[in-house]
Symmetry: C2
Subunit: 341 residues, 2 copies
DNA sequence: TTGTAGGCGTTATCAT
DNA sequence: ATGATAACGCCTACAA
């Protein structure tokens, strides 16, 4: 190894050209396997490039080609297992197509969301994948991105009332149907739903699916058995209290997510309720390591975060490949599914 | 809203200049608040820029300035809660300094690691944060990155025997010390360690710390009580079997991580061992939701992934700010700590 | 088959 | 206080 370690300006096409006494364009073409360049020249160029450890300057190429081979991903929180596995899948799919992933977490803060989008725009990402935060109401940025011709694909938490943008999400009704059926088959008559915040449209849909599922399984639907929680521990406890106060206590609970179930478990412990016996629970999965628990829920409703992420990513990539594929602009819906641990 | 939506070429400095009949350089300077530009001109420029929705073309700026305001982060797996919370913190720290984060997961595959590094290099990231995969032995890339003048900061799983590169990691010995002490105070004499693969240097260090901790607490150290596992379920079970086969069975176990503890829990369940009574467990934390479990471990050894990530990120940012800060090139060590759930 | 020249958008240097 | 010019590294008509 030589001791002469110069500051080492990166090798450029020009230098290769100079050393070879040919023109930079020839080098460029040779490097890109342009058919019009002679085989010998091509070889000579490639050999020298190899020797000199030539690396194309992507920033120059990005600049010139107006393309960055970069996808921006915006999601509420990376440390949520649900999103961690989504982004993990996204990164893999993108990587296969030589795209890299730029990251931004909104922390459910609409302002942060906009900042991230701006930052992505200035970074000239080729496209954006996004799962909306819970508090996002203003969707103007979609229109703005369209002006900039930056395609966006939503997944998981997708916008309502916007139908000219691709969306990937999970249809909860199938899972709810299966869950209620599972309860019904086990003889449960009073089934409760601990839902998310009442203000969220998604919560309303959940309730509807729940109602339908009950009726489909020959059970009655009663408002009382649907309680709303803002997903804090207190709120979850209050929800449980409400259910306990009912004259006819439910023997089965469908919980908004695994965190809610965790609180149910604690609550049950404190009150001496025997979970899985006095009360059975099914929750929408987002954390599941149930197989290690003593009184796990009966089952979980799987929402396929990795699959959603992967699908969204490949839709976006396809969109970038083929700008005009209007057919892609539609909903891609995964059926949620009841899974036993 | 007008119906005239042209393809909408992005506005450039040149156009603003043309419309204002001034030179592009003046526009550039005005936009950047250069002191030599008159106040009126500056205002006029900014006003028009605003009106036209001018957005500087970052790819051009990146290209020109040889800086991308991008950090590359390489870690084994994003969906590991440990790394998810690390990257989450990294993104926040980077964001504060207007840096974005480029993502790559190695899946513990050295080849993937190198590909990601290459990809980062072509993307001209300003610096790299990395947690090594378990199987990485060849560290030549460090030297290569140095040639390219791309600084790298390691965190969590850091390279051995490379001392001219910043490293952030957690000193396990403090946590081990506290754990053993906690066991000792509860009267345990036979304490076992379920360690990681015997081939890993880190495993050796763990054993050493464990030994020291035992001696410091007036207990004997005996090889028999250290068993190695490759962290598969079978291997964890075998480790437990080995411990059960001992004449003098351990009453306390220090487990490599929470996954191992999960397997211990299952094993105990199967064998009718009452966890927390017949045997007490402490594990290195990486998944903890123990407060919801019935027989949780006595405590966990916290390794502060978020803090490690944040620290590594700010070191890297400082390094980028101030190329010559040699003092930064040293180990930044967090003390692991025993925490009760 | 290869070379020349111009341009991508921005900024820095030198002039005016 | 402002303008002209060149340069960053690469690509691509167009010319030869």
């Amino acid at each position: 190894m030589s001791s002469m370690n110069k500051p080492n300006k990166p090798i450029t096409i020009k230098e290769i050209a100079r050393k070879l006494r040919i023109s930079p364009s020839t080098v460029s073409r040779a490097l890109n396997d342009h058919p019009s360049i002679g085989l010998v020249t091509t070889m000579r160029v490639k050999k020298l490039a190899e020797e000199l450890n030539y690396e194309p300057n992507q920033t120059a190429i990005f600049f010139k080609q107006r393309k960055t081979f970069t996808l921006g991903v915006i999601l509420p929180k990376l440390s949520e297992p649900f999103f961690a596995s989504a982004i993990s899948a996204i990164e893999e799919v993108a990587g296969e197509k030589k795209f890299t992933v730029l990251l931004g977490q909104s922390l459910d803060n609409p302002e942060r969301e906009l900042n991230i989008i701006n930052s992505f725009r200035t970074h000239r990402v080729d496209g954006i994948l996004m799962s909306l935060g819970k508090n996002t109401t203003n969707l103007d940025f979609i229109e703005r991105l369209r002006k900039y011709e930056i395609p966006i694909v939503f997944f998981d938490c997708v916008p309502e009332g916007v139908d000219d943008v691709p969306k990937v999400y999970c249809d909860l009704s199938t899972g709810i149907q299966e869950a209620v059926q599972a309860f019904a088959e086990r003889g449960h008559k009073q089934i409760a739903l601990i839902n998310g915040p009442e203000t969220l449209k998604a919560s309303g849909e959940r309730t509807l699916s729940f109602k339908k599922a009950l009726l489909d399984n020959g059970l009655n639907f009663d408002d009382k058995y649907v309680v709303y929680s803002d997903l804090t521990e207190e709120s979850n406890y209050q929800a449980m209290e409400k259910l306990r106060d009912l004259a006819d206590r439910p023997s089965a609970i469908l919980a908004f997510n695994d965190y809610v179930t965790f609180d149910i478990i604690r609550y049950a412990k404190e009150k001496g309720i025997y979970l899985g016996h006095d009360i059975q629970v099914i929750s929408f999965a987002n954390y599941s390591l149930w197989k290690y628990m003593d009184n796990p829920p009966l089952a979980s409703i799987e929402q396929y975060p990795a699959e959603q992420g992967a699908k969204a990513a490949s839709i976006l990539l396809e969109l970038l490949d083929n700008k005009d594929s209007e057919e892609i602009i539609q909903d891609h819906i995964f059926a949620s599914k009841l899974v036993y641990q």
